[in-house]
Subunit: 257 residues, 2 copies
């Protein structure tokens, strides 16, 4: 524990309405310092595990179980959660529903963020159909595409609109999060328009490095990069394994295409 976390007590579950850590600033830990980036990246994983537990009727969970479900070290889990405040009960564990609430609040998911998806191809459609998970904290303000043949087609429960509506959609719905699911050559242009329209957070699926002004947050998801990292480890593994593997089992060596 630390300085000024006005931690209520009174036996039961404390502090539902307030912000729990005494700091009015969102995105700050109980000690007033910003949340570590690595912690932020893990909170959604915990949250999903917690939802799963909650749906199964589990009301209390210890850090051992929760960390196992999330695939992380238990000490790491405890330290991550301790950054949000002191919400565990020693000797018992964490109240699942209360922790769902606290983690959601820490992530800013007490509101539903409108998201605009640019690109109505297979990827855009896959994203829109993510349904159950996207809906926890997000709603699709619009799906945009430049192909007029797609306009009006419904994906999930949203109709595709033309990309020329981008600025209108962002302004009308106060969208600050955009997803780019267009081919690489079109991505930077879409990005520039999103930023100009007021979007400050971008999830980029196009395989290129977007240039954005300071203050705009970009995260990228790139299939080919992930595959290449896997290939690296796979090759290292296969090279180590060669000694104890029959010769015809080896992964093909050099090959000119």
């Amino acid at each position: 524990m630390s300085s000024s976390a006005g931690s209520p007590d009174s036996g039961g579950i404390p502090d539902i309405a307030g912000n729990g850590n005494g700091s009015g600033q969102p995105g700050t830990a109980a000690n007033g310092r910003p949340l570590p980036e690595a912690t932020i990246a893990r909170l959604p994983v915990y949250l999903r595990a917690l939802y799963s537990l909650s749906e199964r009727g589990v009301s209390t969970v210890a850090s051992d179980e929760l960390s196992a479900a999330a695939g992380v070290n238990s000490a790491k889990l405890r330290k991550d959660l301790s950054h949000l405040g002191s919400y565990g009960i020693r000797g018992v564990g964490y109240d699942v529903d209360y922790l769902v609430y606290q983690v959601s609040r820490a992530l800013g998911l007490t509101q539903r963020w409108p998201v605009v998806i640019v690109g109505g191809g297979n990827l855009g459609r896959a994203l829109a159909n993510y349904g159950g998970f996207v809906n926890r904290g997000f709603k699709i303000a619009a799906i945009l595409d430049s192909d007029r043949g797609l306009i009006g087609r419904r994906i999930g429960d949203v109709a595709v609109r033309h990309v020329s509506d981008l600025e209108d959609v962002v302004a009308m719905n106060k969208v600050v999060i955009g997803v780019i699911a267009v081919p690489a050559p079109a991505a930077q242009g879409v990005c520039d328009r999103l930023v100009a329209a007021g979007v400050t957070s971008i999830l980029n699926f196009a395989p290129l490095v977007l240039k954005v002004p300071d203050g705009v947050d970009v995260r990228k998801v790139d299939l080919s990069i992930e595959l290449q990292i896997l290939a690296f480890h796979a090759r290292r593994r296969s090279a180590v394994r060669v000694e104890r593997v029959p010769e015809d089992e080896q992964v093909p060596e050099e090959e000119s295409v």
Copy 2:
């Protein structure tokens, strides 16, 4: 890769035929130590930037330019590349094509890895159509789905097969990399079958934590996690600035960035 794997020897570029760093072990740096994980994760980004330069006819690039194109610090780029060997020329920069070759080799992309994609829905289709990028080092051995209505349908230039062929496909093509693009409830089962069949590297798009035995490498791509991280930063930003106003007249000057 279009040109020959045996790399060009022109103008005193050293050490072509060997593995460049004197170590026979793939995945090790020039000093014999394993490559840092952070470096591995960036190599694909450099590689893409290098391909782009090469296609534009650029033959030589300095770390400043390349690092800008890759969106990283130039010292970081140089240190990353130095782990592969000393392939730069002081006062000049790096030979683009030669660096493409070296980075490809470091990543294990001198061979084309067969990949099996499980799930022929929108996501699986999107992955299969990644085309140009997936083909740099990878080929799709098969796309599998449990929906018999999809069987035989062509995606890219691969026909969808039934998921019951999984073990056959993996065995026949010596597949070690699998992509899971099925709904969450089916993912663990698919994962278990892939592992049992011999797959040791898995790229998971389903929103859950896969349980795998030691020695199996799993990377996950999760839209909702990325969105939640973006939401966190978006909320922090919006809290620092004033609440968004419908009118676009606001220029808050709280802090300079």
